[in-house]
Symmetry: C2
Amino acid sequence: MTITTAEENYLKAIFKIAEKEGKAVLTNSIAAAMNTAAASVTDMLKRLAEKQLIKYEKYRGVELTEEGNRTATVLIRKHRLWEVFLVEKLGFAWDEVHDLAEQLEHVQGEPLVDRLDSFLGFPRFDPHGDPIPDAQGRWTFRQQVRVSLLQPGDKGIVTGVDDHATPFLKYLDQIGLGLGVEVLLVNRTEYDQSVQVRIGGKSEVMLSEKVAQNLFVVVSY
Amino acid sequence: MTITTAEENYLKAIFKIAEKEGKAVLTNSIAAAMNTAAASVTDMLKRLAEKQLIKYEKYRGVELTEEGNRTATVLIRKHRLWEVFLVEKLGFAWDEVHDLAEQLEHVQGEPLVDRLDSFLGFPRFDPHGDPIPDAQGRWTFRQQVRVSLLQPGDKGIVTGVDDHATPFLKYLDQIGLGLGVEVLLVNRTEYDQSVQVRIGGKSEVMLSEKVAQNLFVVVSY
DNA sequence: AATAATTTTTAGATTAACCTAAAAATTTGT
DNA sequence: ACAAATTTTTAGGTTAATCTAAAAATTATT
């Protein structure tokens, strides 16, 4: 049973929504995530259920089966490995790689993924700090915290971003923030929830609540 | 005007047939090359003509337009660069890369191709010795000769293969032949057109006419 | 040159993946 | 608890890319 590119994309979307929202994934969430009409989603859900990739109950939402989960995991693994390749080897910026990886993730061939993984040195995180499952589908977890939750004096290393959109990433580049950079929270303004941070022990900048919420660090003591 | 993957594949097939056969490319040659029904080809030719990618006259065959030619050239460039990547960087054997490159060549994004080219050091030939057009679509030519045409005492460096199929490539591996290897023609047997060759100044093997015809060398004096 | 053989096109279907509009089911609010 | 609002599904269509079978055009043969 072959799985089409469209089917793969639905599985990935379902996986990601389930990861975030927990419970059964509803038709409309999928439609929103994929920018398609709800009717198209219903069509596809029937097909995926037929192929045993999801458990589907009309009006009740869906859940991935073992097989569907495996497929989605491999897809995310491929996507993130290709992102590492594009940034580390081809020199793309972290805000330029999503669309390319979106295409590359659909290239079929198991040996390809695993050789790519090896070529890249088995990275466990992609250029945005998201974890890359290994060949057995195992994830690496980290104790990440949003900068918006730090207290004055808290220090951490930037390990990820929640918003992956270009404007945010370009802004971070501009103020000298990126993965691996040290951030020290100097103080918080309660009025607008903005925070003052010292970056890499050098410059100091003010981050709006929105920015601070989209930035993850692993706290260092 | 976007060009679909299927359209790209037809353009590439037309380009390759035209390259080999010279004149106008006929429906049946395309059907044979693509393993599709002639009727499907006719359908597609109409679409490609509509998009100004080919010049098409019913029953008379087709020719690529400037634009069609450019598209096919870029596609071949991408295919061959990815093959170099797969062999040089990921360690695939030269007989394993065709199907993967067939998928990778359809990944869209100009900067990707050019960065890949640069990452690979601007190779001018792929792992089978086929030329890779540069970013301006220019080809590198070489004075290649089939081993079947060498005379006793003639010496050359293997620079390409005509048959790209796995059994042939695996056979070459087995007897120690590959790109860059030196071949000296020891003598010819007129009866069956087989040739005796010395490989890399070491081992000596007999090559059937078929093998000798599928192997290219650049003669060294 | 007429007929036979071959090649190509047309006609008519199919499938995956989408759509809009309308109907049905579920959830929410008073 | 029932009407209103929302969500989801069904019904009916479209497009790209394929197919088979039949018709038409071209090429080859006697």
